[in-house]
């Protein structure tokens, strides 16, 4: 911050009277600051309201890029797609950590500085408030008429009684009072500051508990097909995101078997035909050493088990395809979870058979729960339930790319080293199967059968040891906010002066501390009540 002098430039060629000389240009002599002095200076700057406001608005601006560009945390596929579509700018954004905005260095820097500023503000205020809580209300000002809501009344009786009655009345209204001579000084609304401090402290609490929960918790995803089960072990997850301080010990062993998955689709309302109205996963859970128990998981109704919450996040079909070699030996027979592509659950399936047949075989399947032909002969799905299920398969032979030891995406087929043998332009039509249908594979490779079409669910398993604490602090945030904004903090004074003719002149005034729209009315109302009360005491 520049001192006031520095902004006034000495004007040499000005229209000043002749003979007027500006004072010689002086260097501003600032106190020399040592290291501690500088620290203190920066600390003061950081904890000033102006800086806090600046950081707050900066935080709002810094949050914007994360909503414009897909984020790794919430939309990893979107990030991959964005990078592919914008090869020019993506590397720059990547360098600037825009794809991970909310854990980026710059975003973290802003909110950490903000919270340090907040702590630096809250601590001295807490001390100050603590002192204020034990201090007596301040002395009555000499001139009440200069204060807000100033009003006067006259009464009969003596000043001591009037002041004592005022004191009682103020106490009943929740004021702390102190009598100074023929006047009473009162203050109320300490809860306003308490609420304010609770609000800010609870914000820090939210930040810390969110951090702790993220550090010690984990989330995992797993696809489970009807009739199959998953266990809460690291190897069992399709994807797993541990917190920084996660250890395997945090995984409480249990298993969840999916007995049935029952969706309900709208059948009456023609505007919403086929729209899902309910999803129920009927499961059997088993804790280690415990009895199997029946349970259900629904959207909005997660299952709580073994310190985790299990959420139902997705569902689809997992056709069971059985492939036999030319001799009739079963080479492959298992459900394949197909990724739904639209609301009517047209789904894409990838099947890879690396061993057992004369060549490696890959298949791209299109599953239609309710197949309906379009005008050009292509199929679509017209309803999400299995009314007319059809699995259409494109077939490929060649190198599946599984043998070089690198991990591959189970939901994608790399066509680089494959030759199409059925479907599209291969000359052989795509293989179409209904449940129970059998067909020969091209080139005498063997046969294929659509054995069954069970459903699958994708489960999200979360463990967050701190989430109740986050909730507690969030509730404190609201409670603190409401008290700090709506409880008026005000001072009220009543002064009594005995006139020569024996009457009393009473003066009332208030002082708002913070926003207090009702102060004037409150003082006037108090004055009236005080007079009423005096009338009762003194009598006519």
């Amino acid at each position: 911050m520049s001192s006031p002098q520095s902004s006034e430039k000495p004007a040499s060629d000005s229209y000043r009277p002749q003979g007027h000389y500006d004072a010689p240009e002086q260097q501003i002599t600032q106190p020399k600051l040592n290291f501690v002095g500088y620290l203190r200076f920066f600390w003061r700057q950081l904890t000033s309201m102006r800086t806090a406001l600046f950081l707050l608005l900066l935080l709002a601006i810094a949050a914007i890029p994360g909503s414009l560009v897909p984020q790794v945390s919430s939309d990893p596929n979107g990030v991959i797609q964005y990078k592919a579509n914008n090869p020019g700018i993506a590397p720059i954004l990547d360098k600037l950590q825009v794809f991970t905005t909310y854990s980026s260095v710059w975003f973290s820097a802003i909110y950490l500085l903000l919270f340090i500023s907040l702590i630096g503000c809250v601590i001295p205020r807490t001390k100050h408030h603590f002192d204020a809580l034990r201090a007596r209300p301040p002395k009555t000002p000499a001139r009440l008429q200069r204060l807000e809501g100033f009003t006067t009344r006259s009464a009969t009786g003596d000043a001591v009684t009037a002041v004592a009655v005022a004191k009682d009345l103020l106490r009943k209204q929740g004021y702390r009072t102190e009598v100074y001579g023929d006047s009473v000084s009162a203050e109320r609304g300490y809860l306003r500051e308490t609420g304010n401090l609770v609000f800010h402290t609870a914000l820090i609490g939210v930040l810390v508990t969110v951090g702790v929960g993220g550090g010690f918790g984990y989330t995992g995803q797993r696809v489970v097909v009807e009739g199959y089960a998953m266990t809460n072990t690291l190897a069992s997850y399709d994807s797993f995101n541990p917190g920084r301080f996660f250890t395997d010990a945090a995984l409480e062993p249990y298993s969840i078997a999916l007995d049935t998955f029952v969706p309900t689709y709208e059948e009456q309302n023609l505007d919403a035909l086929g729209q899902p109205t309910d999803f129920v996963a009927n499961v059997t859970t088993t804790l280690r050493g415990g009895e199997p128990q029946k349970a259900t998981i629904k959207v909005n109704e997660p299952l709580n088990i073994g310190g985790t919450d299990v959420f139902l996040l997705g569902n689809g079909y997992a056709p069971v395809v059985t492939v036999r070699d030319p001799d009739g030996n079963v080479i492959f027979s298992q459900p394949t979870a197909c990724l739904p592509q639209d609301a009517n659950l047209r789904s894409n399936c990838i099947i890879k058979i690396p061993d057992g047949l004369a060549q490696q075989v890959g298949m791209i399947g299109f599953f239609y729960p309710t197949a309906a032909p379009m005008a050009d002969g292509t199929l679509i799905s017209s309803y999400p339930d299995t009314i007319n299920p059809v699995l259409s398969l494109f077939m490929y032979t060649g190198d599946l790319g599984l043998d070089n030891g690198q991990g591959t995406n189970a939901y994608a087929l790399s066509l680089d080293n494959l030759t199409q043998i059925a479907g599209a332009d291969s000359g052989t039509p795509a293989i179409q199967l209904r449940p129970g249908d059998k067909a020969d594979l091209p080139d005498g490779l063997g046969s294929i059968e659509l054995t069954a079409v069970p459903r699958f669910v994708s489960l999200d398993i979360h463990h967050d040891p701190a989430q109740l604490w986050v909730l507690l602090f969030a509730v404190l945030v609201v409670a603190g906010l409401v008290t700090s904004l709506f409880i008026p903090r005000r001072r009220v004074w009543v002064k009594a002066a005995q006139n020569d003719d024996g009457t009393l002149s009473l003066e009332y005034a208030g002082l708002a501390r913070g926003d207090d729209p009702g102060l004037d009315a409150a003082v006037a109302e108090f004055a009236d009540r005080h007079i009423d009360q005096l009338g009762l005491k003194v009598g006519p």
Partner: protein, 317 residues
């Protein structure tokens, strides 16, 4: 049965819009009439104020109105607004009964209900403080919102998807629209405050009707009171949304685009509240913050809902 109720609802919306349009015209006529009133010096009113003795009289924030002249256009505008609002609420109720649930499960219904709440708050606030002078702004805004909703956002009544089948739909969305209502009024007052500040600085000489409105300081106080209420509702919305997200999506906070913008709005209004306690930020600067904040609310509801990819995909469009 459902079709009949939906038709009732649609007829009620269009009728409400027609009457809001009339109310808007009346409010505007009232503002222009004020110019004429300013021209004639209101001397009688000064005498009335000074006639009181020592005892201070509670001064209402009422604009300088000669008592003799009834603000006819204003009374007509308020009456029309009340009639339109009754129809408007009726439209929302019919829609809710037709769907068998709360009428705020998609963008059309949310707009219908949120605008009814904005008008409801505007009407209710009159009992406490005379804010009729922002009637033109409020009815104009609601008229545009309803127009966009009925033309661009309209969807047929469909059952709730499983993710919306929760008590939190009632709480979270309703409180969000309450907050929106208060922020809208706060922004309206802040716009007038900015105009008033310009006029005080001698820049808006043409806008003579401003002389009949409260001073910039008073407007700032009113806007602040609206916005702190809105801020509390918004904070609650944020937390209720997080609790619901934890049940429906399996995490309480995931920086979904809608969550991001709700957070940005919260931060802007937190900044607004702090601005009052910051030297150099009171007055026009904080008024700008209130307007930017409300713009962000509108942006969050329209642009973010329709064009940003996220989990809050319930527009039904």
């Amino acid at each position: 049965m459902t079709d009949t109720l939906v038709q009732f609802s649609t007829v009620a919306v269009y009728s409400a819009m027609a009457i809001y349009a009339l109310a808007f015209i009346m409010f505007t006529l009232d503002l222009s009439r004020r110019v004429a009133v300013v021209a004639a010096p209101a001397a009688a009113e000064v005498a009335a104020a000074s006639a009181n003795g020592y005892t201070t009289v509670l001064e209402k924030d009422a604009p300088a109105e000669p008592k003799a002249k009834t603000p006819r256009y204003l009374r007509a505008a308020m009456a029309l607004t009340v009639i339109a609002w009754v129809l408007h609420v009726g439209a929302a109720v019919f829609r809710g009964v037709a769907a068998g649930r709360v009428p705020w499960a998609n963008m059309f219904e949310f707009t219908l209900t949120a605008t009814a709440i904005i008008i409801g708050v505007f009407l209710a606030v009159q009992f406490w403080q005379d804010l009729r002078f922002i009637g033109a702004f409020v009815t104009g805004f609601v008229l545009i919102a309803l127009g966009v909703a009925t033309v661009n956002f309209y969807v047929d009544v469909v059952p709730l998807p499983p993710s919306l089948q929760s008590a939190w739909l009632v709480i979270h969305v309703f409180v969000a629209s309450l907050g929106t209502g208060f922020f809208a009024l706060g922004a309206a007052l802040s716009v007038v405050q900015l105009l008033q500040a310009r006029r005080a600085a001698g820049k808006a000489a043409g806008l003579r009707f401003l002389d009949t409105l409260p001073s910039a300081d008073k407007l700032e106080n009113m806007a602040y009171r609206m916005i702190v209420v809105g801020f509390v509702f918004w904070t609650f919305t944020l937390i209720a949304g997080a609790i619901w997200a934890n049940r429906a999506w399996g995490r309480y906070w995931g920086w979904d685009t809608k969550e991001v913008w709700t957070f940005i709005i919260w931060t802007i209004f937190a900044g607004y509240i702090h601005a009052r306690a910051t030297r150099g930020w009171r007055g026009s600067r904080s008024a700008w913050l209130a307007i930017i904040g409300f713009t962000a609310v509108v942006f969050n509801f329209t642009i973010v809902n329709l064009f940003f990819k996220g989990l809050h995909a319930y527009s039904g469009l």
